[in-house]
Amino acid sequence: MDARLYDMGNIDIAWCPGCGNFSILTILKDALAELEIDPHDLVIVSGIGQAAKTPHYLKCNLFNGLHGRALPPATAVKAANPRLTVIAEGGDGDMYAEGGNHFIHAIRRNPDITNVVHNNMVYGLTKGQASPTSQKGFVTPVQITGVYVEPFNPLAVAIALDASFVARAFAGDQEQTREILKQAVRHKGYALVDIFQPCVTFNKINTYKWFKEHTYYLDETHDPRDRVAAFARATESERLPLGVFYISPDRAVFEDNLLAYRDNKEPLYLRSTDRQEKLSNLLNSSK
């Protein structure tokens, strides 16, 4: 499929020139095109933030909801209509701070959705405060003596929760990131793709150059089925690994467990709403 199918034409994009989000947008469109996903069968759910605006910039069905709340509606969309391809997308503040509780429980539920997180280690839209993934010592107008709380490690948390699929990528490497993203979307179950994304305006520390120097790719010696090894890789801090860290061998998918689909595989909206007979029986059982 031609990635131009996802182009929105001449639209105003709210990102700063040079923002890592542009690269992620291109990667996303390319990956979806290569996976032959029709925009009509695609729903992107996002929260609030610069990253969460992404779905407005490609052709798709989109639910741009509230800050931190991409994952609950994304889970519900998939549960209401399992035929749709569902992506929950946003930034590190959106997914890991405001939405932290949902992040944990989405992993536990394991709906068949892809969770794309633009991780720039800073708050952009609110002008430069620390994010949950900001590194220690990072000075901001709020954290004026530098960040002194422990950074959130989304990969380690996800692996600890036996997440179905856990990967990290870098927006500066379109080719590899596209492949990781494709693998995540194809994966049946919850798939986390944390993407390092340089913020050219508010993060002068974690720049394109910094990420290049501080990352490396997992090679074939890493077995993504090995949870302990995956966890060890996720906690490395000198140079940060990229690639697929972990694929859980035996996670059942949320929507497959729902009793609503036990006897009927149709999306909810296609089902008959005539319940007279069943209701009548139910009423009779209350006699």
Binding site: D41, L66, N101, A260, Y269, R275, L279, K287
Partner: protein, 570 residues
């Protein structure tokens, strides 16, 4: 004692099986052709404390809490002190003297020793004491043994013949004792039976809400457990496979409401069930529903606040919370069923209204309605079809196309050639984020224009009593039950009640009803008369006479009668 209307109260610790007795006895009584009503009050704990259930058995339909206790069965020593204020010299106390008799002060009361524990032990063990108790009451009322025997077989046959047999023995011993008591205790009962009642249904308010949701086409519920609203979640879970309902216990109420909105977006018919504290967390979702013009059904079971308040008690304190919840301006609908029948019909209607008008719709109940049950004619299921207000999109589909009535046809992803775009930011007709401030004004106007359609189908308040009233009670939700019964007892031809089952927006006839009254009395279960305040905003009328209660218990018939009589004699 009123010979045609008996009030039986059983009180004991949590875990002693009071609810088992309640279920058993009310079903048996209904099958025998008696009108029954049951209401419970309980503490927020799993074991211990003092919980009680009141079961009324009557010649006519009864649906409200009565202070008077005709027969009292204390199951432990604390039960007597817990309810002493409601006992009178007329009350017949059936007490197991061998078990608790020496520990309680019942001097001056009519006490009859019934050895529940010994009879249970003879039948097979202490767990059969509940069946003995049912047997005693059934015996006193002269109910034919076949009815409780049917119940035992129906309920316990899955547990084996031994259990059935021991229950039968316990029942027999209880009934024998009860028959003897009927003669010796001087009970002069004359409760009329009606064979048609045995074919009626018995449902609790919370079950009626749940069945109303199923009837309205609900196929998705996400919620976090919270008294007194959890029963909807458990009911739909029980019937999830049969009715095709996605049921999810969310990690918190924020997640629950956002899931419900995601579900509607993808074509489901979703609801949440919660109480005030949980609803407080859902407010952002109500506002989101307003912005994205999404249907949403919210069952808000009220209990006393603020904060955790009295978790297992009742209040009508969240009207203004629901009315003003969510930032920004957008339409909403608030329904307040007072009866169990209305809980069914209005919840069913809530889905229709939400889907048609693309707004959040509240169903406000409270603990007293949720947990109460009585016999009633089966609901009328005919002539109602669930309408799905979704459209197949074309390739130029715009979710928020501006129309004269404010409603834009609602498409869903994957159904048609269009794309469905929605945004919590202000948006253009396609649904994309905008900061065009002229468009902003048009979008606000469009959203608020939806009120016209909503106003065209407001449920009018129901007038109960004479049309030529000079005194008018105004109430909303569950308060109507005690009000109705108090009015029946008073039998005045100048007193009527206006029962509001939709409290927002209010029906246009409201002001006219109020204007006809010489005296208006507002009755509601909160401290600040929230509904009276709402009526003032709507009609300009200040209601001076108010009967308010906020100790966590529902109004009793007697207290309304007494307070009304006081106000009306002034």
């Amino acid at each position: 004692m009123n010979s045609s209307d008996l009030s039986v109260v059983i009180c004991g610790e949590a875990g002693q099986g009071i609810q088992t007795v309640e279920h058993f006895l009310t079903r048996v009584l209904k099958h025998a052709g008696y009108n029954v009503f049951a209401t419970k009050e309980y503490m927020s704990r799993i074991r211990g404390g003092s919980n009680s259930t009141e079961i009324r058995i009557s010649s006519r339909r009864v649906y409200a809490f009565l202070d008077r206790i005709d027969i009292f069965i204390p199951l432990d020593k604390d039960a007597v002190s817990h309810l002493r204020h409601r006992l009178s010299s007329e009350t017949l106390i059936l007490m197991d003297a061998e078990k608790i008799g020496t520990q309680v002060d019942v001097e001056g009361y009519r006490v009859v020793n019934v050895p529940f524990s010994r009879l249970a032990a003879e039948a097979g063990g202490p767990i059969y004491a509940n069946t003995v108790a049912v047997g005693v009451l059934a015996g006193m009322l002269g109910i034919e043994a076949g009815i409780p025997e049917w119940y035992i077989k129906d309920r316990f046959s899955s547990k084996g013949e031994d259990v059935v047999g021991k229950n039968m023995q316990a029942l027999g011993k209880g009934m024998e004792t009860g028959s003897g008591l009927a003669a010796s205790s001087g009970l002069n009962l004359d409760i009329t039976k009606d064979s048609q009642i045995s074919d009626e249904i018995i449902l609790a308010g919370i079950e009626a809400v749940s069945m109303g949701a199923l009837a309205g086409g609900c196929d998705f519920i996400a919620s976090y457990p919270m008294s007194p609203s959890t029963g909807v979640l458990t009911f739909l879970a029980e019937h999830a496979a049969d009715f095709g309902v996605v049921v999810e216990q969310a990690e918190d109420e924020i997640s629950a409401v956002n899931m419900a909105l995601g579900a509607w977006y993808a074509g489901a018919r979703a609801m949440v069930t919660t109480a005030g504290g949980g609803f407080a967390l859902m407010e952002e979702g109500v506002s989101l529903a307003g912005m994205i013009e999404s249907p949403l059904v919210i069952h808000l079971g009220q209990r006393p606040g603020p904060a955790t308040g009295l978790p297992t008690r009742s209040e009508q304190g969240d009207l203004e919370l629901a009315l003003y919840s969510g930032h920004g301006e957008f339409p909403r609908i608030i329904l307040a069923p007072g009866t169990i029948e209305d809980a069914f019909y209005l919840t069913r209607r809530a889905f229709y209204l939400a889907d048609k008008h693309q707004v959040p719709v509240f169903i406000m109940t409270d603990q007293s309605l949720a947990d109460a049950f009585y016999n009633m004619a089966p609901f009328d299921l005919s002539g109602f079809e669930v309408e799905r207000h979704i459209v197949e999109t074309d390739k130029d589909y715009r979710r928020y196309v501006i129309t004269p009535d404010g409603l834009s046809p609602r498409g869903i992803p994957g159904y048609g050639d269009g794309l469905v775009v929605l945004d919590s930011d202000e948006h253009d007709e396609e649904g994309h984020i905008t900061e065009d401030l002229d468009l902003r004004t048009r979008m606000v106007d469009k959203r608020l224009a939806g009120m016209k359609g909503i106003e065209a189908e407001i449920i009018p308040p129901e007038l109960i009593g004479p049309a030529g009233y000079s005194n008018l009670i105004v109430c909303w939700g569950s308060t109507i039950n005690a009000v109705r019964e108090a009015m029946e007892r008073m039998g005045r031809d100048d007193l009527a009640a206006l029962y509001f089952k939709q409290v927002h927006p209010l029906h246009q006839d409201t002001a006219g009803y109020l204007a006809k009254a010489g005296k208006i009395i507002n009755i509601e279960s909160n401290a600040t008369a929230q509904f009276a305040r709402l009526l003032k905003i709507h009609t300009g009328l200040d209601i001076e006479d108010k009967i308010l209660k906020y100790n966590g218990l529902p109004f009793s018939v007697e207290e309304i009668e007494e307070k009304l009589s006081g106000i009306l004699s002034m």
